[in-house]
């Protein structure tokens, strides 16, 4: 016999967010106004430091159809790679004009989602190894039983991506490309296009974090 370990309470099971997730999390998209302040897809205030970017794309299902009822949240560091959270040793100097978190629903017609933010800086990873600039994404929708975690990297950060400890964990090099957002310039605005494939040949890499 050995001593019993202290009991660990089991985590509450996940359930799908369902088709009407907008009601609770982005009621303006469900079609009504209720809260004084609503959360939004605009992370960067006018004074935010760094390169202003739009991030947009669509989420595709296994039939390659856009998912029109998906909800996406983003969590990111500021332009200098600092998270506004006490676990980050540099959080005290994190950019106050950047809300590192945002949420949005895809458009009900086109399936397009969009965030307005700044490009994050490189974040210190495990063992002090730098991670290439990235956004952390969390995806929920009808038909998704437990939220999917993934990362968006920037395709033009070739050198940093090549050294990124997380991208390099992906055994099949071709799958790393599923995490790279493509840079475009539209009317002087920098846009990163990031499509997410839930299933199939182009399936995006999802993480168990």
């Amino acid at each position: 016999m050995v001593q019993p370990l202290p009991a660990r309470l089991p985590e509450t099971p996940s359930q799908t967010a369902g088709p009407y997730v907008h009601i609770g999390l982005i009621p303006h998209q469900a079609g009504f106004k209720i809260f004084e302040t609503s959360f939004s897809n605009v992370l960067a205030g006018p004074d935010a430091q760094g390169e202003r970017i739009l991030v947009e794309g669509r989420v595709f299902d296994g039939a390659n159809e856009p998912v029109r009822d998906v909800l996406i949240e983003v969590w990111q560091a500021d332009a200098a790679g600092r998270y506004a959270h006490p676990a980050d040793p540099r959080h005290a100097s994190a950019d106050p004009a950047l809300c590192g978190w945002g949420r949005t629903g895809s458009d009900f017609e086109t399936g397009l989602y969009r965030f307005e933010t700044v490009k994050p800086g490189s974040v210190v990873g495990r063992h002090g190894r730098p991670m290439a600039p990235h956004l952390n994404l969390w995806i929920v929708a009808r038909g998704i039983n437990i939220g999917l975690q993934t990362r968006l990297y920037f395709a033009d950060e070739t050198q940093a991506n090549a050294a990124d400890p997380v991208l390099n964990l992906i055994e099949q090099a071709s799958r790393r490309e599923t995490l790279l957002a493509r840079r475009e310039t539209r009317d002087g605005t920098t846009v990163y296009v990031f499509d997410i494939h839930l299933q199939g040949d182009a399936e995006t890499v999802f993480f168990d974090v």
Binding site: E11, Q15, L25, A30, Y83, P86, G128
Partner: protein, 241 residues
């Protein structure tokens, strides 16, 4: 500081897998490749925090927060509970959001075409921050079941959707609360998608008469457990020493 520790690995056996074909929408929305396991970095142990400035005074009162010319129709209930981690420690000052149908099972959502009517005095969403011990409370109308296009005669049990943050982005969780005694629960493919029946039972809120307000409203109790953190300090591992 609890914030500086890595999360315990998520036990996926308590969660529904991605592919649960009895819930038809999951068939084309389930990744088929294995998830890539990732050791925590700052990107996972950090997450957004919310202050009281984000929350309005009626945000946790669904009986009043969309009242136009009266109060909503239905069973008046209080829902209380505690958000804690796997070690039983309360998760303080974290954002809890909730949304639901009205007493007739109709959502105030432009995509809901169910013939049951909208309640003009009911919005169906709310939010609150947990207190210093992890407790939360809101009051609402008990939602009704509603039909959905899965099988021909599929009905969701009465439920309230919950969204919880915790202190790190890897704790992010969305779930649903069901009501004690509802005969639809064990016919529901979302509930039955959870492989472990004991885990599914933890989504069923018991009636809590002690929390009821006599002559006013009944109460249900729904506790939520988020992932716990390891006992070793994260920064030591981060720096590789």
């Amino acid at each position: 500081m609890a914030e500086h520790r890595e999360f315990l690995q998520r036990d996926r056996r308590v969660h529904p897998p991605a592919f649960t074909p009895e819930y038809k929408t999951s068939v084309l929305r389930a990744p088929r490749r294995a998830l890539l396991s990732l050791q925590n970095s700052l990107s996972e142990v950090t997450g957004p925090t919310f202050g009281h400035d984000a929350i309005g005074p009626l945000d946790n009162d669904l009986i009043l927060n969309y009242a136009q010319d009266g109060q909503p129709i239905g069973e008046r209930i209080i829902v209380t509970g505690r958000v804690c981690d796997e070690h039983g420690r309360g998760v303080p000052h974290t954002l809890v959001e909730f949304w639901q149908a009205n007493a007739g099972g109709r959502y105030r959502h432009r995509n809901d075409r169910y013939l049951a009517p909208i309640d003009p005095n009911f919005g169906g969403c709310g939010r609150t921050l947990t207190d210093a011990d992890g407790h939360y409370v809101f009051r609402t109308i008990k939602p009704g079941p509603y039909p959905w296009r899965n099988n021909l005669n599929s009905w969701r049990p009465a439920h309230i959707h919950f969204s919880v943050f915790g202190s790190g982005f890897a704790q992010r969780l969305i779930t649903q609360m069901y009501f004690e005694g509802d005969p639809l629960i064990w016919r529901d493919p979302m509930v039955l998608g959870i492989p472990d029946r004991a885990a599914a039972e933890r989504l069923i809120a018991p009636l809590d008469l002690d929390a009821a307000i006599p002559l006013d409203m009944l109460a249900y109790r729904f506790d939520i457990v988020l992932r716990g953190r390891q006992s070793t300090v994260f920064e030591n591992k981060l720096q590789g020493n």
